[in-house]
């Protein structure tokens, strides 16, 4: 059974389209939703968490329709993008309150709250939540999402505004949760993060899904079209001219005397030529960085930016 099944899902906000005939299946593991602001990620997340109802189409999460469904919501851990916390409460008090609402007994609730705090690395924090940094608030939000022992964790932009260290920590936590059997749907516009976390990726733009699949499959699809490389060389201008003369590249951009960006439709011929350029023409090539495996380039290409 798929974790999420969406069929021709549409959602309008007045005349603005949030989601447009969105069809997708999300399996077990970590699924990343990727797209720019306004792509429809948050709309989809809110539909999944049952906060809003679709205008058209059908949506099932863990086999159930999510809107106004307390039974399903008790199986979901939801971490919204906004800071929906009681700022005057201390972390343990806040989690304790949330755990009691979730139906844990007094003693269970204390243990579980402490456990969830330690999972996100905030044990012993005794200040009011309002004094916390953005990263700490994100961790508290994840902790409260774990209180109800969720089968599915929905994380909306969890890395927004956090520093690289916290980002790495959060990734570590999310990966660990996935290894423990919790399915995760995570949205982000920071493509670097999704690429490193997700098993499956859904690329979204303007309320539609552009591509979906394993990250490797998406790369394969995109490779049929163009291939981009950054070449660090001793003579970027000379090498760029030679590649253009040979008809091996569509775009050449000399970014600096030592860095060249090229885009090609025939990567095999390009890779064959480069060693010859080194041997026959004496152009030193220090480093090749194909950026096909970077989600950013795939996304930009598919969206057409």
């Amino acid at each position: 059974m798929s974790v999420v099944e969406a069929e021709s899902l549409s959602k309008w906000y007045g005349e603005i389209i949030g989601l447009n005939s969105f069809t997708a299946k999300m399996g077990h593991g970590i699924t990343g939703l990727v797209g720019p602001n306004g792509a429809g990620k948050t709309t989809l997340i809110r539909l999944l968490s049952g906060m809003i109802k679709q205008g058209k189409g059908d949506l099932k999460v863990l086999g159930m329709r999510p809107f106004n469904n307390p039974e399903l919501s008790s199986m979901i851990g939801y971490c919204p993008d906004h800071e929906n916390l009681y700022f005057r409460m201390k972390p343990l008090t806040f989690l304790h309150y949330m755990a009691r609402l979730n139906g844990l007994g007094t003693e269970e609730c204390r243990k579980r709250s402490e456990r969830c705090l330690s999972i996100v690395g905030l044990s012993g924090e005794n200040r009011p939540i309002g004094t916390f940094s953005k990263g700490m608030k994100q961790r508290i939000k994840i902790a409260q999402a774990l209180l109800n022992d969720p089968k599915l964790l929905i994380l909306d932009e969890p890395f927004t505004g956090v520093d690289p260290v916290v980002r790495a920590n959060l990734m570590d936590i999310i990966r660990d949760l996935s290894h423990q059997g919790i399915d995760v749907v995570i949205s982000s516009h920071i493509l670097y993060d999704i690429e490193r976390l997700a098993d499956d990726v859904l690329l979204m733009n303007d309320g539609k899904m552009l591509l979906s699949g394993k990250i490797g499959e998406i790369v394969d699809i995109v490779e049929d079209y163009t291939h981009s490389i950054i070449i660090n060389t001793s003579s970027a201008r000379t090498l760029g001219s030679r590649l253009f003369e040979e008809g091996l590249v569509d775009i050449v951009d000399v970014r600096s005397p030592n860095e060249l960006f090229v885009r090609t439709r025939d990567p095999n011929s390009l890779y064959d030529f480069l060693p010859r350029a080194v041997l026959d023409e004496g152009i030193a090539i220090e480093k090749l960085t194909p950026i096909e495996n970077d989600l950013q380039s795939i996304f930009e290409r598919v969206v057409g930016k």
């Binding site: 307390p70 700022f87 109800n148």
Partner: protein
């Protein structure tokens, strides 16, 4: 990066019943509401200035079970009841919208009906402290101060019933009205101001229109006059209004229904796109 956090593990514990969860939700809400320094201040002033003198008066057999004395209690307390309603009720739902925490309740397996019931219960119980409890205290003191004869109780129990009925109506009106405004406006300050303003403005408009055209029906615009009119019926007093007391009762029931509808619409029909 080395990992030093605890690892996640599935929780195998049993969940408590919905009744226990609801009971926790209500008692927590009550504690939170009554911890407000403004609520405490209004309570102290109300009991100090109005309820306590009535308690002492109730020890006098002449006033002990006088219906007019019990009826006028509500009139004297109206300013404080309104203040208390604004202080306690304004943020009851609006604050959950303000800090967007309302989402958290519904992602903890808490139904919208449960949330609404819990919040309305918190309001009802809080308001009872100024609408029902004073009456019970005064009546109890009156009984204790008298000879506690069965005849006396039988003859005067209707005064308690009338007071409780009026208190219940006032509490229901305040509960639904404040919850309705709090959820509709979604802002604590606006909700607080509007709760207070609705009572005063409705009375002001009613007075102005009454002075212009002299039609007694204009008093039906004033919320508090409607409650007073129903009170005169319950306490078997002469009807000082130029219309049957059924009208104000229907107005109050209408406002309760409309306010409940507002809560229902905001919580059940409107999407939580915070």
């Amino acid at each position: 990066m080395s990992r030093f956090y605890a690892r996640y593990s599935s929780w195998a514990g049993l969940r408590t019943s919905m009744g226990k969860r609801m009971s926790f939700f209500i008692t927590h809400g009550l504690r939170r509401a009554l911890r407000s320094k403004w609520a405490i201040l209004v309570l102290v002033i109300t009991y100090g200035l109005i309820v306590m003198p009535r308690v002492f008066a109730a020890m006098n057999p002449f006033f002990a079970f006088d219906p007019l004395s019990y009826f006028s209690l509500y009139d004297e307390m109206q300013l404080f009841i309104m203040l208390y309603a604004a202080v306690i009720g304004a943020g009851i739902i609006a604050s959950d919208f303000n800090d967007k925490s309302i989402v958290l309740y519904f992602t903890k397996g808490f139904s919208k009906a449960g949330y609404a019931f819990g919040k309305l219960s918190v309001l009802f119980l809080s308001f009872s402290l100024v609408t029902i409890l004073p009456l019970i205290v005064i009546f109890a003191v009156a009984l204790i101060s008298s000879d506690l004869g069965l005849d006396l109780i039988r003859d005067n129990i209707w005064v308690l019933a009338a007071g409780l009925s009026l208190g219940l109506l006032v509490t229901l009106l305040l509960t639904t009205l404040t919850a309705g405004l709090s959820s509709l406006l979604g802002d604590v300050r606006y909700a607080g101001a509007s709760i207070f303003a609705i009572f005063f403005l409705s009375r002001l408009v009613s007075e102005i229109l009454l002075s212009i055209n002299g039609n007694e029906h204009m008093k039906l615009i004033s919320l508090w006059d409607n409650l007073s009119a129903v009170g005169t019926y319950l306490f078997r007093l002469d009807n000082p209004y130029g219309f049957p007391q059924l009208y104000p009762f229907l107005v109050i029931v209408g406002i309760i229904a409309l306010s409940s509808l507002a809560v229902y619409y905001i919580l059940f029909k409107k999407e939580l796109s915070l």
